[in-house]
């Protein structure tokens, strides 16, 4: 079981002080979080893509590249790459470049993403989503497979054997399909033989695990190997040594985040009662002490059988020092507790990919 961190790069307004950090500082905070995650022994870090002032990381690959130079073990991933409004050729070029810089530590999660601002920004129609995503995913998988790409689709100019460099050094870049929870997307992941990255974003920690059963069954129907049939789960998360304190500290930030999202989308923010329910044992918000969160992950594992759990930490302007502390606890305390029960088999081992040696570049800063 691997444990990791997910982030957006948060520059939203702190509900307690009313201030914001600069957008550039939010970007640099992500790099710092990645460094701390590696130091804490965590296995993976995923970074999202948005185009709004609250979440200013509009280009994740450069941030991952910056982090790659000051880490040498942790996996670096998009979470998610908003595939439908981007060009798969450019995406591959960017991530294979990070892969080179990081000595083969890159992964990608193409997905829809939860926000839609990139559609008008890049001139796409959200109503066209299904066709865009299917077409672009097909090309991304093809570029990942073949150095010379011959491809014809409906969403971008035809490719006639063009060479798309740089080629990832250690074979294909691992691609997980980002699934929001729609059963049709679950089946799509299985039909493409792709591992699935999905989330529990509150509510019950286990209820939607029917999707895990659906995924495994469908994978079997499509004749996928066990190496292709892997699940990673992400959930909002925050830790302090004292669980009650953690829930108290996170609440104003979570409320602020949900309030902002609710104002944009026309729903009311969650009340304290539903927050209590979702953070209690069995709830889908991983907020608490290291022991509580470890226990929750073990419970989720019983239902989901996933191979990697990450917590998404930066929403609602939680101060960076508190986030770094939570990352430390997740790595140094939760990870050993979880791995004591579930073992420490890495995803690389499961997919039959040799773990990349931590090669230090000549003259690299330590």
């Amino acid at each position: 079981m691997e444990l990791g961190i997910g982030a957006f790069g948060d520059a939203s307004r702190d509900p307690r002080t009313g201030t914001r950090i600069s957008e550039a500082q939010a970007v640099r905070n992500v790099v710092e979080s990645i460094v701390v995650a590696e130091q804490a022994g965590l296995d993976w870090f995923g970074l999202g893509e948005h185009h709004v002032p609250d979440f200013p990381v509009s280009a994740a690959a450069p941030v991952l590249a910056a982090a790659a130079q000051v880490t040498n073990r942790i996996k670096l991933s998009s979470a998610v790459t908003v595939l439908s409004t981007d060009d798969p050729v450019r995406i591959y070029e960017q991530y294979s470049t990070v892969d080179a810089i990081s000595n083969g530590r890159v992964e990608m999660i193409p997905g829809r993403g939860s926000s839609i601002e990139s559609y008008p920004l890049f001139g796409y129609d959200l109503q066209d989503y299904d066709r865009l995503f299917a077409d672009k995913l097909d090309l991304l998988l093809e570029v990942n497979r073949s150095a010379h790409v011959t491809w014809e689709g409906t969403t971008r100019p035809t490719l006639t054997g063009q060479y798309v460099p740089p080629r990832a050094e250690h074979g294909q870049i691992p691609i997980w399909l980002g699934v929001g929870g729609n059963p049709n997307s679950v089946i799509r992941a299985a039909s493409l033989g792709l591992p699935m990255a999905t989330g529990v974003l509150g509510g019950s920690a286990t209820r939607s695990s029917t999707n895990a059963q659906l995924y495994r069954h469908a994978a079997q129907q499509f004749g996928n190997t066990p190496e292709q049939t892997l699940i990673m789960l992400g959930s909002p998360g925050f830790l302090m040594q004292d669980g009650r304190q953690a829930r108290e500290a996170w609440w104003p930030h979570w409320r602020q985040f949900m309030k902002t999202v609710g104002e944009q989308r026309g729903f009311l923010p969650p009340d304290r009662a539903s927050y209590e329910r979702d953070t209690a044992a069995g709830g889908g918000l991983l907020i608490g002490s290291p022991e509580e969160i470890a226990e929750r992950i073990l419970l989720m594992h019983e239902h989901w059988g996933h191979v990697r759990q990450y917590i998404h930490i930066d929403m609602g302007a939680v101060p960076q020092k508190d986030l770094l502390h939570a990352i430390e606890l997740f790595g140094t305390e939760v990870r050993p507790l979880v791995q004591r029960e579930l073992g420490n088999t890495s995803v690389d081992q499961l997919i039959g990919r040799a773990s990349m040696p931590a090669v230090s570049v000549s003259g690299a800063a330590s």
């Binding site: 914001r20 600069s22 957008e23 990381v57 941030v63 910056a66 070029e93 890049f122 460099p165 944009q264």
Partner: protein, 373 residues
Amino acid sequence: MSNPSDRNQLPSRPPEPRISDPAPGGLHFGIGTFAFQYDDATGTPVPGAQVLRDVVDEAVAAERAGLDSFGIAEHYRRGMMDSAGPVVLAAIASRTETLRLGTAVTVLSTQDPVRVFNEFATLDAVSSGRAQMIVGRGSAIESFPLFGYDLAQYEELFDEKVDLLMRLLRDQPVTWSGRFRTALTEQVLEPQVSAGAIPVWVGVGGSPQSVVRAARFGLPLMFGIIGGSLSRFAALSRLYREASAEFGQVEQPIGMHVHGYIADTEEEAVERFWPVWSAVMNAEAPKRGWAPYRRERFDAEVAAGSLLVGSAETVAQRIAAGMQLVGASRFDFVAAASRMPHHDKKESIERFGTDVAPRVRALMMQPAEAATR
């Protein structure tokens, strides 16, 4: 739809650190690179990924050697690894502190200026204000079919995209419409960058129209020089000054981007560089309809300073003379033509930074003396 994009309504944020360009009249010495795949000692091409890691290492060497900037090119072909420049530059940012990080050139005509902004603003954030770029046509054309653009529309594409990019860099929120991308309405982009903070130069290969275009945009001008006569660039430089005045634009600096190789002696430099450079030129010649590249021409270009091959002392003199002839205040050196193995490139970068640039600075302080040499 509600969009939290009106930054004016947000609480103010602290100012951002920035490594600024040299003051007007100051000199700037940088490195340009192409991320070519090269052969190792056994004649086997090194992995492309290694080439990129080498580039990062060369940039670190450039900063240590006291140089001001490092620029990476953009290509989409076998043997060249520079398809995602801002990503490489962001990696370099983590291992350097003062080096300005740029491109040479960003092939803007086949990019979306919004994505270019996103990538460079992100680079600017991770580097604490060190991003810059040179936009231009580039000499390669493979990006046009790759991204579905028509080379015949090059001029229109470039004009429209420079216009949008500069709007995005200078005056957000932007309301804009054009032919080649979807319109923008009161758009702000992230991460936020102070207006005008990221320097943009226009790279030109020698076309007078491109020079006039740069003048019209009021942007600094970078000459991409691959041999030939420097007096041609001196003439273009005068054209740029005159056109700038005509368009009512403030005078902007001029730079030169020149290939070369530095060794202990002129003879050694020539001996090592001639086979590499003649192979490069003769590989390109049939594709571009050039005459075969001969030694006489090479020797002439070395003597004229449009190829920098020699000892630190002779190269410095030629650079100073060339900069004065062209009226340039910035000089970017493409070490070892970016073709030789990592070790040679790195050594040439170090020599340029520690031995050549200080000499050029000194010579430029004594213009009369330098000009008479």
